[in-house]
């Protein structure tokens, strides 16, 4: 039986949403799903080499940001980059940087982004992947 396919349109560059994406990837890895992630607009910011580990912006409940970040540490939650990395080790995960999004954040080539990224692509590839998927998410 073929593996189920998951496509994630990853728009968000905030740590709270990226952490959530990491947990979902963990679930997908546990199910041996084939995953394709398309790094869009704000997520491209988070994927830039110089931002990935230092970016601690949160999108929601911003007045409790410190509590949120402290809780992630207290609960031994892996950093989202580590969660993504673990998922890559355990199942098929392809991470594409949307070319346009990359350019918005001054990233012209693959090397401008963290090593988690596999390649730079266009919107056509996202639509194809989405059409062929069992599950489609916009995060």
């Amino acid at each position: 039986m073929a593996n189920k396919k998951l496509t994630i349109a990853l728009f968000s560059g905030s740590v709270d949403k990226l952490t959530a994406a990491g947990v979902i990837l963990g679930g997908a890895a546990a199910e041996d799903m084939d995953v394709e992630i398309f790094v869009l607009l704000q997520a491209a910011f988070a994927f830039k080499k110089e931002n990935a580990m230092t970016n601690d912006r949160v999108a929601e409940i911003t007045d409790k940001k410190d509590d949120f970040l402290a809780s992630l540490e207290r609960l031994n939650a892996p950093h989202w980059t580590e969660a993504f990395r673990t998922a890559k080790e355990m199942t098929n995960v392809k991470i594409h940087i949307c070319g346009f999004a990359g350019k918005v954040w001054h990233g012209e080539k693959l090397d401008d982004f963290i090593d988690l990224a596999d390649d730079i692509c266009g919107i056509g590839e996202y639509m194809t992947a989405a059409e062929e998927s069992d599950i489609n998410l916009f995060i």
Binding site: G26, G27, A29, A30, N76, T86, M90
Partner: protein
């Protein structure tokens, strides 16, 4: 499997996932299952409530035999057979 049998069960592999939160325990179980033979017993220790339901469901999907869960103080042990 009865509670007594579970309580005295000796696992071939123990996965202590008590220091991690979801999806940590599930991924630890998945990693460890590759290290035991078919027919062997694995025990997963966790303090995460979601894990209690996740692992039996995962067993069903993967064709492993879920044997039962033993509640301890502050955590629980899930037994399964590959």
């Amino acid at each position: 499997m009865s509670t007594e049998e579970l309580a005295t069960m000796k696992a071939d592999k123990t996965v202590d996932a008590r220091g991690t939160s979801c999806p940590g325990p599930l991924l630890a179980a998945k990693k460890a299952i590759g290290e035991i033979q078919k027919g062997q017993i694995m025990e997963v220790l966790s303090a995460d409530e979601g894990t209690k339901r996740d692992i039996p469901k995962w067993c069903k999907k993967k064709g492993f035999e879920y044997l039962g869960t033993v509640e301890e103080s502050g955590f629980f042990k899930i037994f399964l057979r590959k």
